[in-house]
């Protein structure tokens, strides 16, 4: 049983898996023609989520194929769904902060909570606020993680990075790398400025965040895509990166890189991925089954242990199966029941949801980010 779930965590295995994912992505391109295929589930998602490790068992059980249309970033996801005819997608995986926009644009089916094993989830996630609108459910959490401050352990000791203020210290000059996405990067700066929640800001507080962000300019090493964050951390371009989390540093650490992630005293951000049924689908039953499968203990363990993307999972039943079958993985992922685990920070109230700006337009935050980059 353990063998079934145990991924090869060697560097070679990591690279091989990456190549496999790339090959898969190339071979399983989504096409609008797939929309009417009864045995094809059209899946709009972040890259890598149609990896056979995640969906192969579901495809076998249901005699179907998952066709993924990949996007990078919530804005791109909204653009894709906006530009596709109704019925193009059966299932959508979205970052939770974008769900209200999908809901407002009437792109999502209402879900019946009784269809999904929500009672298996941690109580904090059974009625996750970003999934419910007017008392109705529109999404089921597939995985989550925390964003804080990632750092080079050869340069920093944990007590030196206990606060985001480490980014402003002379030691960090020219060595603070930024994930080139305003939301998590400005979100952590907002936390550093004492805003909790970090995205619900008055205009005065927003101006203060802008000032604090701009004061980081001389500290910045660069602005990186996801792929380049990996290389900037490993090739020494960046020693500190705010707004990213264990899902990046854990894989690198297991490959022998001196990296770790901490949730500083000012708090961290929770990213959440949510599965929904797209309105207009002709394969509602298959879509429901897919979400049920992903939320099942087996599907959840696969989410947590995907070789190139380690995640936390909301299902306690998933945690139990992981602990029973892959205790070492459970320990590394801090998903151990009855021991200090990833839920601790959440329970202490140190984690804020990653949300879209509440009082300003997305464009206003983006403009500040563009200006910061051009300083």
């Amino acid at each position: 049983m353990q063998k079934r779930f145990l991924p090869d965590l060697s560097r070679r295995g990591f690279l091989r898996a990456g190549a496999g994912v790339a090959a898969l992505a190339a071979s399983s391109r989504w096409s609008p023609a797939d929309a009417d295929e009864p045995n094809v589930l059209n899946y709009l998602s972040w890259p890598g989520n149609a990896d056979p490790y995640l969906v192969g068992e579901f495809e076998k059980q249901n005699n179907c194929k998952i066709r993924i249309k990949e996007y990078v970033g919530g804005d791109q996801m909204l653009a894709v769904i906006n530009q596709s005819p109704p019925g193009s997608f059966d299932v959508v995986l979205a970052d939770a902060e974008y769900m209200h926009l999908l809901r407002a644009a009437d792109y999502l089916e209402e879900l019946d909570p009784a269809d999904y094993p929500l009672k298996d989830f941690w109580p904090e996630f059974q009625k996750f606020p970003l999934h419910w609108f007017d008392g109705k459910l529109y999404g089921v959490m597939s995985d989550f993680g925390y964003l804080g401050l990632s750092y080079n352990t050869e340069v920093y000791k944990p007590d030196e990075v206990g606060s985001y203020e480490a980014m402003w210290k002379p030691k960090a000059k020219g060595k603070v790398g930024f994930f080139d996405w305003y939301l998590p990067s400005m979100g952590t700066v907002s936390l550093a400025a004492g805003n909790h929640p970090p995205f619900d800001l008055s205009d005065a507080a927003f101006a203060a965040v802008k000032k604090k962000l701009f004061s980081l300019k001389s500290q910045a090493s660069g602005f990186y895509t996801i792929a380049d964050i990996f290389s900037s951390l490993t090739n020494g371009q960046a020693h500190l990166v705010p707004g990213i989390g264990e899902w990046i540093t854990l894989g690198l650490r297991m490959s022998g890189k001196p990296l770790d992630t901490i949730i500083p005293a000012e708090g961290g951000l929770q990213w959440t991925e949510s599965l929904s049924i797209a309105k207009g689908t002709k394969k509602r039953d298959l879509a429901r089954k897919f979400i049920q499968y992903t939320a099942s203990p087996d599907g959840q363990v696969r989410q947590a242990t995907k070789v190139d993307n380690k995640k936390s999972i909301p299902s306690m039943a998933g945690w139990k199966l992981l602990n029973d079958t892959m205790p070492k993985e459970a320990q590394i992922l801090r998903l151990e029941l009855g021991k200090p685990n990833v839920m601790d920070e959440y329970k202490k109230g140190r984690i804020a949801f990653r949300e879209l700006p509440k009082k300003q337009k997305i464009e206003d935050w983006n403009d500040v980010w563009s200006e910061f980059k051009s300083l």
Binding site: D75, G222, Q237, I362, E363, E371
Partner: protein, 304 residues
Amino acid sequence: MPPASPKPPIPDAFRPSASIYSGSPAAVPVALGLPVMAWQAVFFLAPLVFLVVITFWQVRSFRLEPAFVLDNWTRILWSTPFHRALGHTLQVAATTTVLALLLALPLAYTIAFRLSARVRDLAVSLLVVPVFSSYMLRIYAWQVVLGADGIANAVLGAIGIPKLQLLGGAFSLQVGLLTLTLPVAVLILVFAMVGVDRTLIEAAENLGCRRAQVIARVLIPSIRPAIVLAGTTTFLLAFGDYIGPLFMTGSKPPTLSILLVDTVKSGSQWPRASVVGVSMLVILVLVFALGRLAGSVRIRRRSP
């Protein structure tokens, strides 16, 4: 005046193929060119027109809507990030052009005049390979070389030089852009130099010109259009490049191509991104036109 004697008939053996000349000869190239023109109209001109049109459209709730608003133009052209990105991009592309020409001219001269024909062909082949190989892979290779723990610092460390920050600045950016542009510039110049009339060079040498004088007075003037073409091509490639600035500097500071992508990401703002794109296109056309002008202007020389 006696009537002109009729021309003797052209023997069939010398008559051009009847199928080619069955219509108007002038129509043949037109007929052959029509599909190409149609292709260009459909796949180049039409998208270009559309690009300009959507600069006046607007975005509502991430959805592109036809409209006629000037807001996109005013917002982009008057914004500080655009001005900074434009200045930075022009400066970076100009630097690359100067560096590429300074490096390419002696290299091309060596290949064209100092190597045997066989070795010259080999050198040209070696220059062609990188042009058609993945630029992205070459950039990743430079990251391995220039990283803090990369090959360059390992070599420097071996001779006692402390680690240098080679990645993430103007140096690494130029390394990336020259990786893209230098082979192209060298190839253009090699082909031009190979085509230079050798008798002119020999004549100059026979008349007592030193090598520097031959290069300055005969070779450079002979290949001036190629130098302009190499410089223009280098500038255009560097000006529009996205990968080099993104991966060699971490977008710091952003170039216009990075600003363009950032603008799309900012709430699916295709109209504003199109403004950036159209502006880039206008600048490229201007540079190209200036290049053509520089290449065609005759330089008046005083008689010795």
